[in-house]
Symmetry: C3
């Protein structure tokens, strides 16, 4: 597995057994670079021949196969295709019962995750939803219809997460070929669908809301997402049920369930203004990034497997986790992958409540302060100053309890961290607060939340599949 000439390098397929993960990683990097280079070549031609125009591209949700950050830099702004029901149908990051509950609404955190990820590719600035699902589609394993009111709710969700424009795919349903069963705002005969009525209503509401919107700085929580590190987990899950996106989603939804607005950011981003910085998983060592987080005053929460490999996909030569020794005093004795059917318990207080987890578990010897324990009393999560390390694959319920219990965080955020009901989410955009209710019961916005704010869309009591927009006075 050593090369003396570039000619010797082949694709990492057709191997007798599994290929070397270092080679697979290099192949993924090379392939991603080719996509970026091709896009750059195209944009240069277009800019030369069509000066004064903007260039965007319809990136896909649930697609992580090339590094979108440098790709986005060659566009004027990034766009993406938002299919909440199709995504849920193909996703492997939720339990089966949640896939049933949100069958016709989309999961409250899945499209938002993608929004926040794509907004991070625009440095928290302009992005478009260039294809928005406007009804049932054709390409997912199951193709249910959006519930009544949900196309309006999705449209508002898009704007709440920062989309500048929402374009529906397609205007009119096509009569022929592979996508003839993909809805449009117009039926095949040209008549508007009832979903189009929802869009028209939203259009009028947006005009109203735009009058209130004022640019306001705010930073609550950052989640660091890096494509190369994501590929690491895909190449070497180490357990058949270790689903990379589920790990990121669990951290993301925990913050969302506490009412936080999250920025998903590249590792190059300035993290200093965020009270909470979450790094769900960054397997590759990164000296520069490590120095940056070392200097943070934020609560920095780091997930399992982080900094466990060199950038060449090898184990660090020296004492295991070099970089971690700057942040923590622990040593990982061993790691293990577990089947989904095997549930263990983790205890935020010894002898107190427990939360189940599966998939991944690390055993630590540590001089840091444990803040959660496995069933055998060994540390599962540790703190050292403002740094937290979670040594297993946590579910959102454990994470919400942990984060809600951080006293300094509530102070910095200026708000108590309290769990929202299942299906209810809030998203802050500048001076606006968008409340979305995907639960089956009406949601009453709390008095404290209404204080100093005006209701500009909807009402303080939100019906299922409806929303309310508040504006800071």
């Amino acid at each position: 597995m050593e090369y003396s000439d570039f000619e010797q390098i082949e694709c990492p397929n057709l191997n007798v057994t599994e290929p070397n993960p270092s080679q697979v990683m290099d192949f993924r990097r090379f392939s991603s670079d080719q996509v970026i280079r091709f896009n750059r070549t195209q944009t240069e031609i277009i800019r030369r021949l069509s000066p004064g125009r903007f260039i965007t591209h319809n990136s896909m949700g649930m697609f992580f196969d090339y590094d979108h950050y440098p790709f986005a830099e060659d566009l004027d702004f990034i766009s993406w295709d938002n299919y909440p029901l199709g995504f849920l149908s193909v996703s492997d990051c939720f339990d089966a019962d949640e896939k049933q509950i949100y069958l016709r609404t989309g999961h409250p955190d899945l499209s938002p995750f993608m929004h926040d990820l794509f907004r991070g590719q625009s440095a928290q600035k302009k992005f478009w939803v260039i294809e928005q699902q406007p009804g049932p589609v054709n390409w997912a394993p199951y193709n249910p219809a959006p519930a009544k009111g949900i196309v309006r709710l999705w449209t508002w969700q898009n704007f709440a997460h920062g989309a500048e424009t929402v374009s529906y795919f397609r205007w009119r349903r096509c009569h022929f070929a592979q996508e003839q069963m993909h809805a449009g705002l117009n039926a095949p005969d040209g008549e508007f669908t009832e979903y189009a009525d929802e869009v028209r209503r939203t259009e009028n509401e947006i005009k109203e809301v735009n009058r209130f919107l004022q640019h306001t700085e705010y930073k609550q929580a950052a989640l660091v997402f890096d494509y190369e590190n994501f590929w690491h987990l895909e190449i070497q899950p180490q357990g058949s049920d270790f689903k990379p996106l589920r790990l990121f989603m669990n951290f993301y939804r925990a913050m969302r369930e506490l009412g936080l607005s999250v920025d998903i950011v590249p590792k190059t981003a300035d993290l200093s203004a965020y009270p909470l910085v979450v790094i769900p998983c960054m397997p590759f060592e990164d000296e520069v990034f490590c120095k940056k987080i070392q200097s943070l005053k934020s609560r920095v929460m780091i997930g399992p497997r982080t900094f466990s490999k060199t950038t060449d996909f090898q184990l660090p030569e020296a004492s295991g986790l070099n970089l971690f020794s700057r942040l923590f005093n622990f040593r990982i004795r061993y790691v293990e992958s577990l089947p989904a059917s095997y549930r263990e318990n983790v205890y935020p207080q010894k002898g107190g409540n427990s939360y189940v987890f599966s998939y991944w578990k690390e055993s630590l010897t540590t001089g840091d302060r444990p803040v959660a324990w496995y069933a055998d009393g060994e540390p599962a999560t540790v703190e050292n100053g403002n740094f937290t390390y979670c040594a297993f694959f946590p579910e959102a319920d454990f994470l919400t309890e942990y984060i809600a219990g951080l006293p300094e965080l509530s102070v910095q955020l200026g708000q108590p961290l309290k769990q929202l009901p299942a299906g209810v989410r809030v998203r802050r955009l500048h001076n606006l607060y968008f409340y979305f209710n995907l639960s089956e019961a009406a949601y009453h916005i709390e008095a404290q939340q209404l204080k100093d704010k005006d209701v500009i869309v909807g009402a303080p009591v939100i019906a299922p599949n409806d929303l309310t927009v508040l504006c800071l006075k």
Copy 2:
């Protein structure tokens, strides 16, 4: 996806993504035509060189890949291979618990469906069962043994559904090669199996019954089955759990559970004499067929997706469902496919009993009379005069309630429509009535059914896995 020359046409495989469904459909039609043409060439040669002989062919059960109707026209009569246990093992049209219950008997409706389908290929005339399963076989995922008495029951079932001849495959079990584990009437050593004893008993009974058989006209129910339309559903199920045969089977078994004898017929058949005509699914528009059913006085029950596509596998250019506008006043707002795990309810009376369904649901705006409703009160089944449209993927229990509740139908049939116990079926052949009991309890034929009839095989009380034959006085 446009062609300017026949040379450009390739097979619809090795595509980067899914092929155009219109092309797949043309490929299916072309492949079917090749089978038919090859058979025709063969039969012409045989007829020329072997005048005065008859030609048949062993068609396969559970196989729908070419259009059997024109194929059958080139034979003197059609034959088919009946493997009730193997079929059940490979089938995807029943729930898992039913596959367990009927593991050693075959499902009461699966071979009968195939009989009625093949008889329809002979214009309700002569057909043979040229291979009858005579014991455990080798080719299915699981190969249980027929329960005691079941080979006799199958043989009678064959005759009850119109078979002229039943030939067992094989006479003697083969010592070698792939089918060495496939039973014969004789064991490998040449001794008769106990299944052969059942066949010998049946042979004697048949001689007796033949003395009573008199040709008698009767028509109760027709189910229209068209191969091209079946391929449509295979090419574009639109949901991973939409199993075409299950949809047809649900309609078929509902009629059978009500004691009806069903003819499965091509769309070219004369339907005028049937009190009940069921069209489970005919996606392709068909002007001629539509005119024919328009003229019917029968109760015509039409299933979902019917007339939703042009014969080129496109959406109709004009206002959606052209042809339906001659039969109904509804418009389909949208359709949706659902996972098997997702159950919805349908209500034959608002607020009354409900029945579960899954797989497929259409949302209608309609001026027709609703006769069943979804949970949200929207119409699930509508009537316009003698036409009924079922807008979802119905299970048999819903259909039996609906059909049994049609007052005019009982009158026309001259018999009340009453649900038989699970596993009990009756089949009328001319002046004979065959009762089959695949339940675990004895079945008592009702006094009303015995009236004006003689018991010529068995007794009015039928033991499990046994049968009784009545003859009109």
Copy 3:
């Protein structure tokens, strides 16, 4: 399917339908012969060029694709690679709940089965464990970590089953390539893991025990395992859920649960000294082997499908089961394969307790003495003198009841046959008795077992995941 020239012979793949099982069998034999011949060529070269050295080879657990018996004859002794957790993860011979229970300990019978199989390849003499799992590995679907104390327990298990040497793979965990996540006794940084501490402790204990070990003849039970016959079951399972290894394992574990030490032996072995000889499945007729077991005075227990095929993978031409007619007076009416979800009951006493089984069932007409019955009262297991035939796929619980109820066997063994608690096993090696406790409760060795013996490692009460060694006084 007849050949007139060797050139006509092709590999049994790329067939339109399934290949002839006789051809597949020949292909398997040919492939196995190639492996054996290649190994022989290598050993001849090494012996010539490196005289005075020994030659062994790291055979793999859970791998049956060539005939290991003749292969082993060309080595000085056989070695094998023992990965208890990886094996359990990939195995298909246990129920899901057992795979959970033993996730971090390995199944109490899986590695022992392999030990006893490999020892049989050395004629019950010298063999090595040349790769012993020393922590979590990387190649199984799930890669949990061995529970505390389990690497020590495995090491003792290796010696208890006769290993002369145990070598851990690997000494130090590798920094790079495909196996970087495979544990070593040393961490990547060169520090000993806690598993290494267990190995060091065991090393000291072994020195102690070696002082006591004295060669002592004893034979309790033999299980006949033949590779060609195993391939028969792989080539023609006749039911998707018929898992060959599970059938062998069920017989093996039944004996182990009764405290027996089992030799797994080739069909050429001398069986005369074993009180109990178990032949779980030998489909191929074998005149020589049949004569040998005919002459045995032991209890000979024979499983289903035995002697049902000629060595050319055909049915015997004459009256079915020629060879069996020397041992029994039954005739097999038919066989059937059943899905795992379909459970039947077998009754060791008519109307008494029942045990469930699935997968395979034979229907017998017999003049032999039934000793277990199916639910319909037909014989499921029969005896003729000292021969027993089990006509279905038995689970271990049925077998333990049957074997424990053989009065002559306890007498010959000089010990009562009593079921051990789940997870507790004992293995005799010469004058030593090794007790292993993989249950969750402490195990008290019975007074009767302690009589005439000294405790030389551990104590009479064995904690979970611990062991005790007794020595005959």
